[in-house]
Structures are given as C-alpha cells and as structure tokens.
Symmetry: C2
Subunit: 146 residues, 2 copies
DNA sequence: TTGAGGAGTATGCAAACGCATATAGCTGCC
DNA sequence: GGCAGCTATATGCGTTTGCATACTCCTCAA
C-alpha cells in the first residue's frame, strides 16, 4: 500500500470511527420520541428546504435506498408529519414537504438534539478545530470531483 | 442557539454529509462480493485484532445493535469466515476470530476497497488536510470525555 | 404522432434490523 | 454457600431494509 493510500485510509477510518461513536451516543438519548433517527434525519432535511422537494432530491441527502426512503415518507405521511403533492411540471415527481405538525415536531426534537451534539462535540474539539473539521468535511462531501 | 452550539452543529452536519456521500460512493462499487458492507466492516475490525475478541468488544466498534451483531456473526460463521470459541476464563463470553478463509476474503476485498477510498479521498483533500482530518476525527472518536 | 428509451416513484418479497426478553454464567454480600 | 443482581450472548417477533421490478410519465427522434 503506497503512502498516500495509507494516509487516505487511516483518515477515512478515523472519520468512520468518529461517526459511529457519536451516532451511538446520540441514539442512546431519549430525544427521538415517536421518530427513528432516520426519520428525524429526513424531517431535518425537509426543514431546511424552503420549498417542497422531490423524493429523488431527498434521496441525495439520505443514506438509504430509494424504496426504503419512499416507505419512510409513507410512514411520516401517515403520522401527519409530511405532505405529498404532485409536481405540476412533471407528473412522475412527488413533492414532499413538512406539515405544520411535522415542522413543530422536528423543531422540538431538533432543539434537544442540537444540545446533545454541542455537548458531545465541543467537549472534544475547540472552536478552531470545529471550523477546520467543517471545512474539511465540506470538501469531502462534494460529489464526483474526479 | 448560541454561537458555540451553531458551530458544533454545522461541523457535525458536515461530517454526516461527508460520511453519507462517501458511503454511497463505496456502496455503489462492486467490490463487496459475497459480503455486505456491514459484514465487511466486522471482518475488517477482526482483521486488525491480534487475538480473538468477544462479541461485546466487537460491538464497541460497530454501529449495530447487539442482537444484530450476534446474528451477523452467525452469518459469517455459516460462510466459514469466522470462528466462535468459548472464553476459558469467562463462560458467558464468546470469542470471535477470522478463519484463514475469512482473512483471505477480507484481504481481497480490503485491497480493492482501500483503492476506492484512496481515490475518493485524495481527489478531494491534500495529504496535509488528510492528516488534519485524521487528528480531528480521532479526538472525536474518543469515548466519554465529559 | 408515435414509439423506444429513460427517469421518478411504488410494490412484492426475502433478508436484516431493533426491541424486549430469555438464558447462562459471573460476582459480591449476607 | 446461596441467593440477588449484574454482564454476555442468543432468540422471538414485528418492523424496516434492499433488490428486483412494475408502473407512470417524460423526452426525443424518426
């Protein structure tokens, strides 16, 4: 394994470990109420969207297969947290958005979760380090840089 | 939301996004053969252990419930990739280790996967940045710093 | 205008997951 | 020494997931 490969892999492994450790910490909290973490993740993604978005667009932000996401949206809709509407400009597309109830629920959970995140993360990294981490991860999150 | 909380949360969100983007990229490759990514993850974890480890210890490294891990080890054992043995010093414990076949399989997949990781990651970050990322993520991955 | 090919979403089905709990073994206090 | 309570792993069961594919609608070229 060449030097660059090794460095790349240890860095990626560290990122995976950090992700796993913190996800477990968050999962252990009783913040989530009626939603699973994945459902919350979708609700959170929707909460950042100024307008309804398609399932495909939603899928870009979520680590889940398309059918699983489709059914997850089903469940959120059944709970009245999310609305589906046809896209007037493309009959194939279903546009998804939070209902008022969904928005409230997301906010309530989000507030608590944000505190957990802050607690977990600021106890391990300084503000300067957090800034660096964000910069690095944003670069990593870009698609297809090839 | 206080300034520190905001910074902490945007950094964490960036890390999640990076994780999701790259995981999707890796999942899309046909590297995995007969194993799922999670199964590979367990095999990889075992490959780094000089001696057999308990299911509980394994569980610390994997983002999965204990019963799910228990059954995942079942599957690996059925495929002959993993061996279970009783712990002589504690009758409750099951010690897990890779078989020769398991080690080979992990190595084969691991080689390809390492190349994918290197390709994905070095195209987005410089060696210096990778070093920083590793340092930051290692700090993040530490447990209970409270 | 029509039909071939493609994109977006949903559904059938088997596999995998999480939660609750059972089981087996350890530990420590009376 | 024996029982209460704890830790480690496994199992029952309902839910969620992924894969393959169906279905619907769009696009584009002849």
């Amino acid at each position: 394994m060449a030097g660059g490969t090794r460095l790349a892999n240890t860095a990626w492994e560290a990122l995976m470990a950090a992700h796993a450790t913190l996800m477990k910490e968050f999962a252990a909290e009783r913040t989530w109420q009626e939603l699973s973490m994945r459902e919350y993740d979708v609700a959170y993604t929707l909460s950042k969207c100024p307008a309804p978005i398609s399932v495909t667009e939603l899928h870009r932000h979520v680590l889940l297969s398309q059918p699983a996401l489709s059914r997850l949206v089903d469940r959120l809709a059944e709970q009245g947290l999310v609305e589906r509407a046809p896209d007037p400009s493309d009959g194939r597309v279903v546009l998804v958005s939070l209902t008022a109830l969904g928005r409230d629920t997301q906010r309530t959970i989000g507030r608590q979760h944000a505190r957990s995140v802050a607690r977990a993360v600021t106890s391990r990294l300084s503000p300067a380090e957090l800034g660096q981490l964000e910069t690095l991860c944003r670069k990593l999150a870009r698609r297809n840089p090839e």
